[in-house]
């Protein structure tokens, strides 16, 4: 699409191109398609201890998924830093934006975009997933089916924390800068818990992994609540991470969490652990 100023923008189109079935008849193309499908397959690798207990399904009463660097950073700072967590698995997948995570058996390197699973030592029914890598549209269903396929559905509750740019938030009134970042919630029909922030208004849409997880929970009647944080900062930011604090109310009932006191300073800085005093509750 060309605009008045001459620049060319690629725009997302709702129209869907027709399949050209004639090409699929050729064996060579079939082989290529199969090879591409195999390359794009999602693999979930569990540590030996968990893999063994997967003969039956993994007992899990609470699955907490953080999608995005700020959601993952929040969990790292408030939940995972209490040293009672074991890394129990990771998801490896390849796509055009996540090229580094195709090594199935080797865990991702620290700082690399990844999808990591942690389990609480004292309460092994609590699982945390930090997802900072991009999962493509054609891989989302696989990811969801494979992860939830490992978990016992009975008694399972899901919480999703997700970052989103405020530019994608739709509201009839103009949103002033001081209102950002902010939290909105969305629950599956089976969830009876009280949401800790206003519900996401129509006509806003969720996309990506949060949408895939919530859709799965809605279809399979799993209680799930999503907390979506709309922020104007793309990089890791302590103010955005702190916006998820209402979720600590639920999390503190399951596991020990840290109370995080941030010293007064510039609004956006990228190393929250450096200047924070951590007080364990």
């Amino acid at each position: 699409m060309a605009t008045f100023f001459g620049e060319v923008l690629s725009v997302y189109s709702r129209a869907v191109e027709e399949d050209d079935e004639d090409l699929d008849d050729e064996n060579e193309d079939e082989q290529i398609h199969r090879a591409i499908e195999e390359k794009r397959e999602v693999h979930i690798a569990w540590c030996p201890e968990v893999a063994q207990s997967l003969e039956g399904k993994l007992q899990c009463s609470e699955l907490i998924i953080a999608v995005g660097t700020n959601a993952a950073g929040f969990l790292s700072a408030y939940v995972l830093n209490t040293e009672s967590w074991d890394a129990v698995g990771h998801a490896s997948l390849w796509n055009e934006r996540s090229r580094g995570s195709s090594r199935q058996s080797i865990a991702p390197l620290p700082g690399e975009p990844a999808c990591l699973f942690y389990r609480h030592r004292d309460n092994p029914a609590v699982l945390v997933c930090q997802s900072t890598c991009y999962i493509a549209e054609d891989q989302l269903f696989q990811w969801t089916e494979k992860v939830f396929g490992c978990l016992q559905k009975r008694g399972l509750s899901v919480m999703v924390l997700s970052d989103s740019p405020v530019a994608e938030y739709k509201t009839p009134d103009y949103l002033y800068g001081s209102a950002v970042p902010f939290l909105r919630s969305l629950k599956s029909s089976a969830s009876k818990s009280q949401a800790l922030c206003p519900a996401l208004e129509q006509p806003n849409i969720l996309t990506g992994l949060p949408a895939a997880v919530l859709s799965h929970c809605q279809v399979h009647q799993i209680p799930a609540v999503l907390y979506q944080c709309y922020t104007d900062v793309i990089s890791p930011d302590s103010i955005t991470m702190e916006t998820y604090k209402p979720a600590l109310l639920c999390l503190s009932k399951l596991v020990k969490v840290s109370e995080y006191i941030v010293e007064q300073g510039p609004k956006h800085f990228c190393s929250p652990l450096v200047t924070a005093k951590i007080k364990t509750t």
């Binding site: 189109s13 709702r14 869907v16 629950k187």
Partner: protein
């Protein structure tokens, strides 16, 4: 026109939603997202076998096609087209022709070459052609009703398609020479973004 009353915050609607009306003996499957291209064939097969297993007396597939790919003939007259499977033809007979509906034209497999084979071509229609051809093969009574349209605000196209369908199925009563009053879903709000910053003016 009123916004749908179901526009309260927190209402969750996922990518495929099934609605049903026992009074109208009608079920509506709303597909809100594109089907991943590599899964399109599988999707068509699953849909067709589900339609068959469910025993629907007739199925209507509402769709669209790129307006910019019309040929010279298609540029004239109504942008609405239909297709029906042989099984559907047995049910409706010539009803749709009598209502002066236009059947979707086929295109030449090799444009410019005379006597070349004709084929069905629905650009921008997604799985429409796949669903139609599979329904023909499985003897499903199915009608495709589609509209030629362009990218952008498709709300008027949606109403045109729906009113056209209503002239056949009479889903909603309307006074003579007038269109029915449809309810607009909440998802149609703010199609072009949020409120404008006042400081812009």
């Amino acid at each position: 026109m009123n916004w749908n009353a179901d526009c309260e915050p927190g209402l969750i609607l996922i990518h495929r939603f099934m609605y049903s009306s026992p009074e109208l003996r009608l079920a509506v499957l709303q597909i809100r997202t594109p089907i991943i291209q590599t899964k399109s064939k599988k999707f068509c097969k699953l849909m067709v076998s589900w339609i068959k297993a469910s025993g629907f007396s007739r199925t209507v597939l509402l769709s669209s096609s790129h307006a910019y790919q019309r040929d010279d003939q298609q540029l004239l007259g109504t942008p609405l087209r239909y297709l029906q499977t042989p099984s559907m033809q047995k049910v409706t007979g010539d009803r749709l022709k009598e209502m002066e509906w236009r059947e979707m034209e086929t295109v030449s497999t090799f444009p410019g070459v005379t006597d070349s084979e004709q084929r069905l071509y629905i650009p921008g229609g997604g799985a429409t052609k796949g669903l139609f051809t599979d329904s023909c093969a499985e003897d499903i009574p199915l009608v495709v009703v589609l509209i030629f349209c362009s990218e952008g605000d498709n709300i008027p196209d949606a109403f045109t398609l729906l009113n056209h369908l209503n002239t056949w199925l009479h889903l909603v009563d309307a006074p003579a020479q007038m269109q029915p009053k449809w309810r607009i879903p909440a998802s149609w709000r703010l199609l072009f973004g949020s409120g404008i910053p006042p400081a812009l003016f």
